[in-house]
Amino acid sequence: MARTLKDLRPVYVVGIGWHRYQNPSDTPYVTLGVTAIREALGDAGIEWPTVESAYVATALLGMASGRPMLRHLGATGLPLSHVENASASGSTAFRQACIEVASGLTDVSLAVGVDKRNPVRREGTGIDNLAEDAIAQFTHFSLLTNEYAHRHKVSFEDIARVAVKNHRNGARNRNAQRQQERSLEEVLGGRKVAGSLTPLQCTPVGEGAAAVIVASEDGIRRLGIDAARAIRVVGSTARSERVYAAGLGFDAVLTKETTTIALEEAQVTPRDLDIIELHDAFTVEELHYIENIGLCREGEGVHLLKEGALDIGGRCAVNSSGGLIAMGHPIGPTGIGQIGEIALQLRGEAGPRQHPNARTGLAHMVGVGAVCYVHILQRP
C-alpha cells in the first residue's frame, strides 16, 4: 500500500521570502530569485550552505536557468533540479522538496520560483484543432463564467465581487503586484476582454520570485531554527485530468478529486480551514474552487462572498494575499508564494491582513494540462 506524505517524517515550512511580484521590468531574474532566497534564509535564521537541495520552479525562463542564479549565493554543489508544470510549477517544486525531506534524504531543502513574462512556447502534438488559436485563457474562463451564471442564476456583478475582495487584500500586501483597492464599479468598468470579463477580473501576469525552505525535526534542532514559527505540512496531493462527462468543468472536478484526497490525508474537513489560497486567475474560478473544496454547495459561493464569509476576519479567508488577481501570477513563483502566505497567517505574522486565530490553511493550484496540487498546512 502506497503511503502519503504524512506517513513519512514530519516536514515543516521554516523560511519564506519573496521578491515583489511586479510588471515586467529590466530587473534580471537572478536578482528576483536571490532576493527571495536571501529573505527566506534570513526568515529561517540559517545560512545557505546548510541547504541540502534546491528545486527551481520556472515556466518561462528556458533551459537550465537555476545554476546561473544559485551560484551567487555561493556554489555549494548542492543537487539542483528545475521544475516546469505550468501554473503549478511552484506547487510542484514545493511538493518535491517536502517529499525529499520527509523521505529522510535531506534535512533542509529549498523550493524557489522565479519567472519573467516571456512568450509561452508549446510544441504541437501532431493533432490539428478547429480554432484553438482563437481561444485565449481568458476566453476559456469567460465560457465558464457564462456557464456558471446561467446554471446558478448568478449575476456577472456578483461574480466580479471576487475581484473587489482580492484587490482589497492585495492592497495590504507589500509583495503584491496590484496594491490598490478597487470598487465594484471600477472592476466592472474596464474594457471587456471576453464576455463580462474585464482586466481587473483577470490576473496580471508579471514577474517576481518566491522561496520556501522546508526542514525536518532533526534539521530544526541541529540548526537551532525557532520551532514555534515552524508550520507543519500535513497534506500534499497531486492529480492530473481524467476523462469527464461532457459539460463538467475539468478544473472544478479535478479540484474536487485532489482536495478530497488531501483533506483525508490531513484528517481535516473543509470547516476546519481558516485560510485558503487558490488559483483565482479569473474571478469565476474562486467560486468554482471554494465550492469544490467543500466550503459550500455548488452555486452557493456568491452567498458566502456577499456575506463576507470569505473576507479576512470571516469564516475562512480566501486569497488573503490578494490571490492571483491582485498579488499576481508570475507562474513559477505563484504556488510557492501561496505557501509563504499561509505560513505567515498561521504564524500570526501577516500584519495588516492577519486573519484571527488561523490554525489550518490550504493551498490550491491548477495548471494547464490540467494538473492540480493541494497542500494543507497546520500550526503546531
Binding site: D128, A134, L143, N146, K192, G195, A246
Partner: protein, 125 residues
C-alpha cells in the same frame, strides 16, 4: 477555382466532423491514432468515425480583445457537446450575438477570404 477547405483533416465539405472511435467505445474528435484517452489502445484499435456536426451549446462568449490582430474582433467562441459525445470549442457563425446555453447547434462551412471554406457552428435551422 474550387473553394478550398481550410482544414480538410478535420471536416468534410458537407460540414461533418472527422472524429474517431476506439474499440472500447470512446468517441473522440479529431481522429488520431496516438492512443485512446480512456483505455490507452492505439493504432488500428482507433478507427475513423464521421460525426454529424450537430450538438447542444454548453456555453458561448463574445471575444472583444485578441492578441492576434489578423483575427478581427468581436468574434464568438462556443463550447458544443456533440451528439456523439465529444465536446468541441470553436468559432460560431454569429460574431457578436448572445446564444443561450442549451440551444441546438449545427456545423456548416462558410467562405473565408477569397477561396477558403472554414467550419462554423450556428443555431440549427
Amino acid at each position: 477555382m474550387e473553394n478550398q477547405l481550410l482544414k480538410p483533416t478535420l471536416y468534410t465539405p458537407a460540414g461533418a466532423l472527422l472524429g474517431g472511435r476506439c474499440t472500447c467505445g470512446h468517441v473522440f474528435f479529431p481522429m488520431q491514432t496516438h492512443g485512446c484517452e480512456v483505455c490507452g489502445r492505439y493504432g488500428a484499435d482507433l478507427q475513423p468515425m464521421t460525426l454529424s456536426g450537430r450538438g447542444k451549446l454548453l456555453s458561448a462568449t463574445i471575444v472583444h480583445l485578441h492578441a492576434d490582430k489578423a483575427r478581427a474582433t468581436p468574434f464568438t467562441i462556443g463550447k458544443i457537446a456533440l451528439a456523439e459525445g465529444p465536446v468541441v470549442r470553436t468559432l460560431l457563425l454569429d460574431r457578436d450575438r448572445e446564444i443561450a446555453p442549451g440551444t441546438p447547434m449545427a456545423a456548416r462551412l462558410v467562405p473565408i477570404g477569397e477561396t477558403g471554406l472554414d467550419l462554423r457552428f450556428a443555431p440549427e435551422g
